[in-house]
């Protein structure tokens, strides 16, 4: 048995993953344990969990693989400083010690934690992403496209995966980065870099792509092979702490929007424009990957692969017959990719390919909690709960509550790996009700959001409700709702600056999950993916005729998705959720002691 532990940390979300003889056993992000959103520190808790799940002693590990090569990253750091024309002593003083004390100390951190000498290998950042996308995919061979902010020198790569190998064919290097270009607009529109990108994507349908020509004229040039170059005169990330600079601000007519202030038509149009440019670049890169590999299948990873609008467009383009996207597409997935790359490419373990099914296991790779553990936790809080052992009875009881307009916190089985809640740590609601979106936003998430929630739908019914070509088990594709389910509304509202007026206009028979352009970030459910969640949606369908539920992540704003029963109960009690389901225990808010929502989470979690 070859046991390999992959680690990613010190940049974005840190994580660990364990792979046994090429099979993915466990993977988890550190933030879920430390309760610090996007925690990038050494993933001690994640490593502990992975060894626990595999029930392995440290000396049973054959190797530990770090997801990128610190020497190349250091090289980039040094050369960037040297080539910078501005005085950047402050940044130098901050960045170098931070770098030296983190990435170069990985071996000693591992030894300190596991108290044993284990071979530690490093791989390449984009190879980790590519491996995370290709090896779990159901494809024998595939083109692989990885796009992110930066990893070592590379920001984009095109590779070819076949059998046990991934060969890098082309790379685009820093500072020319689609991820950083998108982040620059995220920053300029007043959202937090590295977490607010999905908000910018959600804002795009409200705007018009009026700035596209300006972006092409001044900021980015696309070549015939799909590669691109940024005009660094307009960006601040090389020589300052900011993504954009004065020239960028002049170009778009003013300073960046201040966070938490009103979103105007300008931000909507900027979002729409950069989204269009992103889609163009991704399409160009995918086209070139097709030319280079001749493959019918494409795998995607890297932070930009979480742009599900762009993914949906790529899917609809039919450029590739098959598409598979790593659900933990960001740096957390690098831990998994590193372990898989070593497994197949270094230890030469054959892939166990199933062309009908990926080997990501529904991305349910995190910890689960037995009913004993659940009850031990709930009893500590004096929680009042019913134990409903019969799965069918449980599903109908929850479905009935949702039908009656209740908002339900739902925790079952193993936690998701990746940023999306897929029905194991989710907040659920009735998509048909006009008040669901507002209620979930204001009373549970504590935000005034312009983004609709995502729908989970039984896979067998997906084509009746959505225009979907492909399966979407990981909520990574955006598609449109079927025409017969749409409702017309006055598009003039789109010229209005007040987004919330538009958000609350019903746009379909399932308004809570329908965006202003009739799009939806869809998740398809099968019994194999998540039987408990499948049973619940099936029960809801038999009660209402609607095979769709609203699915949003189980957390409050700024909080990582809940992991344990303790996290779930605390989150439930902090919000105005009506019902909490943790495994076979069902709790009604009105029955709980001290059932007043409290806002102490605002002190604990930094707003995203």
């Amino acid at each position: 048995m070859i046991n390999l532990l992959g680690i990613s940390c010190f940049y974005h979300d840190s994580a660990a993953a364990i792979v046994q003889d090429g099979e993915i056993i466990a993977a988890a992000q550190e933030e879920r344990f430390t309760r610090i959103k996007h925690d990038s520190t050494f993933p001690r808790n994640s490593i502990n969990y992975c060894l626990e799940e595999a029930f392995l002693e440290p000396n049973e590990l054959n190797a530990i693989i770090f997801y990128d090569n610190p020497i190349y990253s250091f090289d980039r750091l040094i050369k960037t400083f040297i080539n910078s024309e501005k005085s950047i002593e402050d940044q130098w003083c901050k960045a170098i010690p931070r770098f030296l004390s983190s990435k170069f100390s990985i071996q000693s951190l591992i030894q300190d934690m596991l108290n044993i000498q284990i071979p530690v290998y490093v791989t390449r950042h984009h190879l980790s992403h590519a491996a995370s996308a290709f090896f779990p995919s159901p494809f024998e061979s595939a083109a692989i496209l990885t796009v992110d902010g930066v990893g070592e020198w590379a920001t984009t790569s095109i590779s070819f995966g076949q059998d046990r190998e991934v060969e890098t064919l082309k790379e685009i290097n820093f500072p020319h980065s689609l991820g950083l270009l998108y982040s620059a607009f995220t920053y300029y529109c007043g959202f937090k870099v590295n977490s607010g990108e999905y908000k910018l994507m959600g804002l795009a349908p409200y705007g018009n792509p009026v700035y596209v020509d300006m972006i092409y004229e001044h900021l980015v040039a696309i070549k015939s092979d799909g590669s691109f170059r940024l005009n660094m005169d307009f960006f601040g990330y090389l020589d300052s702490d900011y993504m954009t600079n004065q020239k960028f601000h002049q170009l778009f007519g003013g300073l960046p929007r201040k966070p938490e202030t009103m979103i105007t038509k300008k931000e909507m149009d900027l979002a729409s424009s950069i989204q269009k440019v992103t889609e163009d670049i991704i399409k160009g890169l995918a086209k070139h990957a097709k030319e280079l590999t001749g493959s019918d299948s494409l795998c995607l990873a890297g932070g930009v692969a979480l742009n599900c609008v762009s993914n949906g467009i790529l899917d609809n383009s039919k450029l590739f017959k098959n598409l598979w996207i790593q659900p933990a597409a960001g740096d957390a997935g690098g831990a998994l990719g590193a372990a898989l790359a070593a497994s197949h490419m270094l230890f030469k373990i054959p892939r166990k390919l199933n062309i009908n099914k990926d080997s990501q296991k529904g991305s349910l790779l995190g910890p689960s909690y037995s009913t004993y553990e659940v009850r031990a936790a709930l009893d500590q809080y004096g929680a009042i709960y019913d134990v409903v052992d019969d799965a069918k009875e449980r599903a109908f009881r929850i479905a009935n509550a949702i039908k009656d307009g209740k908002i339900v916190g739902f925790m079952n089985g193993r936690m998701e790996f990746g940023p999306r809640a897929l029905g194991s740590r989710s907040i659920l609601g009735d998509p048909r009700r006009e008040d669901t979106q507002a209620k979930m936003n204001l009373k549970i998430k504590y935000r005034e959001s312009f983004r609709p929630f995502a729908p989970s739908i039984l896979k067998s019914r997906a084509n009746e409700w959505f225009d979907l070509n492909n399966d979407s088990p990981y909520m990574l594709l955006v598609t449109t709702i079927s025409k017969d389910k749409r409702k017309s509304f006055n598009k003039k509202e789109l010229s209005n600056n007040n987004l919330l007026n538009i958000v609350n206009i019903p746009k379909s028979t399932i308004p809570a999950v329908t965006h202003v352009d009739y799009s939806a970030r869809i998740q398809t459910i099968t019994i194999e993916n998540n039987s408990e969640y499948f049973n619940l949606i099936s029960a809801f369908e038999s009660l209402t005729g609607c095979p769709v539920l609203v699915n949003t992540s189980f957390n409050v704003r700024g909080e990582p998705i809940v992991c344990s029963p303790d996290d779930a109960y605390k989150c439930f009690m902090r919000t105005e959720m009506d019902l909490l389901v943790v495994e076979n225990c069902i709790m009604q808010k009105s029955h709980q002691p001290h059932n007043q929502p409290d806002d102490s989470w605002k002190d604990q979690y930094e707003l995203d």
Binding site: N45, Y49, E52, E57, M113, N115, Y372, A376
Partner: protein, 335 residues
């Protein structure tokens, strides 16, 4: 750590959550364990009946017996099981508990289980736990909390009387106790300020300071009339009176005795004195630890954590084997 290990128990105060599969991050590099459906750290389900020709030993104790710091398979009970043919060992060890709670575990979970021998792994520090009514713990946030525990008192006839059952489940803060109650928090030593200063200086400084002052950790053993010892004696006497099979009491030494920082004379004398009670066999493993040179003995505990390392467990198992073998043989002959 996301996984909770213990659940409330109204009689014992707490026990392991049943059917756990857990890994505890620890200076040893971490340790793995599983619990059975009854909530004990054992690979065995505690079936009442034995298989024919099978021998069975029940072991009770605190974290030294439960195996804090080491994975399943490396505890002295597991090592013994491997050394003894056709013998299964049921480990009822529960971290953070005292001999009073071990007796309650016996009464509530073990007394109906068929067996050939009982071992009470009595960490000598337990004498401080039996007089305590509250025990300090650090919660996930690193704050000190108190958990209530059951305890016994001696009545005017010298009989033990159970108190504080059902144990209140609430976690308490030190501030919530009155001055009388504060007396009953488990003692972890005097001169807290000095101990915390030395702790900050590291384990080597602590060892040096203890050697320098000829530290005596357990004064309760100093005289046979000490109330704590009288209570211990009464609990053991009552417990053993309920057991039909032989009982080995194994006073598990603190590291201060193993590393000859402190004198063991008082506690050894006290335990020798109860060997007069029928069915009790005192097995003192200290001599077996002391046969090793100091640098090896230092390896029997972790750098910071005082619990036994796998090598410490091995020495204890090999030591106990000498007392267990003849008793199991004689016992089966008697049967």
């Amino acid at each position: 750590m996301a996984r909770r290990l213990f659940q409330y128990d109204p009689l014992i105060s707490y026990r392991f959550i049943p059917c756990l599969k857990a890994r505890v991050d620890h200076e040893s590099g971490g340790y793995l364990f599983k619990t059975n459906t009854l909530g004990f750290r054992s690979k065995h389900e505690f079936n009442k009946c034995k298989e024919p020709n099978q021998k069975r030993v029940l072991i009770f104790g605190d974290s030294f017996t439960a195996g804090d710091g080491v994975s399943d398979g490396k505890r002295y009970s597991d090592i013994l099981e491997n050394m003894l043919p056709n013998t299964e060992i049921f480990n009822f060890g529960m971290p953070g508990t005292g001999t009073d709670q071990h007796y309650l575990i016996w009464k509530n979970f073990a007394m109906d289980i068929e067996h050939d021998l009982v071992i009470i792994g009595l960490q000598v520090h337990n004498i401080n736990r039996i007089i305590a009514r509250y025990r300090k713990y650090l919660n996930k946030e690193g704050n000190t909390i108190l958990l209530a525990k059951p305890y016994f008192e001696l009545d005017s006839y010298g009989r033990i009387q159970l108190r504080n059952v059902p144990v209140p489940p609430e976690k308490l803060s030190i501030e919530s106790l009155n001055s009388d109650q504060l007396e009953y928090i488990e003692r972890t030593g005097r001169m807290i300020w000095l101990r915390s200063l030395i702790k900050k200086l590291g384990p080597s400084a602590k060892d040096f300071a203890q050697r320098l002052v000829r530290f005596q950790p357990l004064e309760a053993y100093n005289t046979r009339l000490n109330p704590a010892w009288l209570l211990m004696e009464a609990i053991l006497q009552k417990w053993v009176s309920e057991i039909e099979k032989p009982v080995i009491i194994c006073p598990i030494p603190l590291y201060q005795y193993i590393e000859q920082i402190s004198s063991p004379n008082h506690y050894q004398e006290r335990f020798r004195s109860i060997e007069r009670i029928p069915k009790i066999f005192i097995h003192d493993p200290l001599q077996d630890f002391l046969q090793f040179p100091y640098n090896i003995r230092r390896e029997f505990r972790f750098k910071v954590d005082q619990h036994f390392t796998p090598s410490g467990h091995k020495v204890l198992a090999e030591s106990l084997l000498k007392s267990i073998k003849p008793l199991l043989t004689n016992n089966s002959t008697n049967l």
